[in-house]
Symmetry: C2
Subunit: 269 residues, 2 copies
């Protein structure tokens, strides 16, 4: 496929995202039936499934050879053998969605032979679309995002869920505590996709989570690559796009310095 | 003074807040000179001083008998003897202001003989004004805020800065950790005034800080009182409006339950 094909795919994806967001907004005026998954923090709503089905149908109709990976499952068992895969989170920040009706996002990524081609993160209630196509730059709505510049650790504001400071059974909770102690500030908005879009657009300098799924971070990586942002597991290893793992993204140099200063020390001790 | 006088004061305060916000927005397109105060997290900008002076001049011109309390100091040494006092934070969330150009607020309160009469919290970049007058209800822009209803602890989303989980020398960091472990979610937006306005408007169920100054919480208490929100120190003691202290605000019942379940246990042990 050439660049024009990817541009067409991106435009269709944007259209579907906007249509899906209208369904989400309409549902917020109705009562939402909620069921809990593994923890109270991990809600999945009727709308989560509905929007996932919406994307699945659209992709199957327009790109029958493309695979689909989402929170509720994957399309077909042979998805790993297909060249092109859509990785979608219909509602990133489900707790915000049901509880705050605010700060949730639709995240859509298209990867081809393991490479991120299209990434969209749509902040539904603020009507802010973060979008990127490989080699074409990243944008927030109509504004092209600037390339990210380095920042010192003690000047950095990072996104991080306070829960990662609690888990005493995990060795890395001490690393997290040390990191929080050294940066200028910590924020938490309750949506991994949005927080990584904030990194791509400079509102945050970094974002870290000890466990994310592909649909949480696939689109963000496409955005970050276009602005020179760095990403890896929290241990500095390459991210596998079809596997859950820790994720750490950030400004250039800042990303490497944090891993050197905090994580490598932990690994040595 | 009667209700009409307070309404007039509220209207003037809103006018000044809007004018001050225009100055802030204009300054964001210029370079901001920043100097650090006690810590890198506690920035004060040229604009902080400029806006404080703006309010001070306005109040002195229109209400020469009113006292003024702000981050940069107080007007006169006899302020405690004056009946009416303005308590103002020109930029709540200074780090957000300089770093994110987003999620900062102007907080203005007017107290009379120790009682909150007017409270305004203005989310400058989102153009959201949270406002209340004693006995007249609280509003977000033109919408009257509903009275807050109870919520269970394990269903609650609270605002809390991750830093409060670190300070091992403070006995209450363990209480904080237990609280974070039990609630459904934790958010952190970097502006105490905004986070308490979120509690008043139902976006958060509670907010806790181990140290706030009067100008951080004075306006929020006026809003919270109007919607039946509860507030105290983190130990359940009454808040003194002219003293820095810990602050814990939240939905009715939820507020009391948290103090009973977590804080009283700590005090006993």
């Amino acid at each position: 496929m050439n660049e024009l094909d990817w541009l067409k795919i991106k435009q269709m994806a944007i259209m579907w995202v906007k249509e899906a967001s209208n369904q989400l907004k309409a549902s917020l005026v109705e009562t939402i039936r909620v069921e809990t998954k593994s923890s109270p923090d991990d809600l999945v709503t009727e709308m989560d499934r509905k929007i996932e089905q919406y994307f699945l149908r659209k992709i199957q109709a327009h790109f029958p050879n493309h695979a689909f990976l989402g929170e509720e499952g994957i399309s077909g068992e042979e998805y790993k053998n297909r060249d092109t895969i859509w990785i979608i989170d219909p509602i990133d920040g489900t707790t915000n969605f049901v509880h705050q009706q605010y700060n949730f996002a639709i995240s859509v990524a298209v990867y081809h032979k393991g490479e991120g081609k299209v990434g969209l993160i749509y902040d539904v209630m603020n009507d802010d679309l973060y979008h990127a196509m490989a080699g074409d730059g990243a944008y927030k709505n109509d504004d092209r995002l600037e390339r990210l510049t380095p920042v010192d650790i003690d000047k950095a504001i990072i996104g991080l869920n306070a829960r990662w400071l609690l888990y005493k059974k995990k060795a890395n909770h001490l690393t997290m505590i040390e990191l929080v102690d050294k940066v200028r500030g910590v924020r938490s908005y309750g949506s991994a996709a949005l927080e990584m879009a904030y990194v791509a657009s400079g509102r945050l300098d970094g974002y870290v989570s000890l466990k994310l799924s592909p649909w949480d971070f696939a689109a963000a990586l496409v955005l970050l690559k276009e602005v020179g942002g760095c990403y890896s597991t929290f241990y500095g290893e390459s991210l596998a796009i079809l596997k859950s793992s820790s994720v750490f993204v950030g400004r250039p140099q800042f990303h490497q310095k944090v891993i050197q200063k905090f994580v490598h020390k932990e690994l040595k001790s």
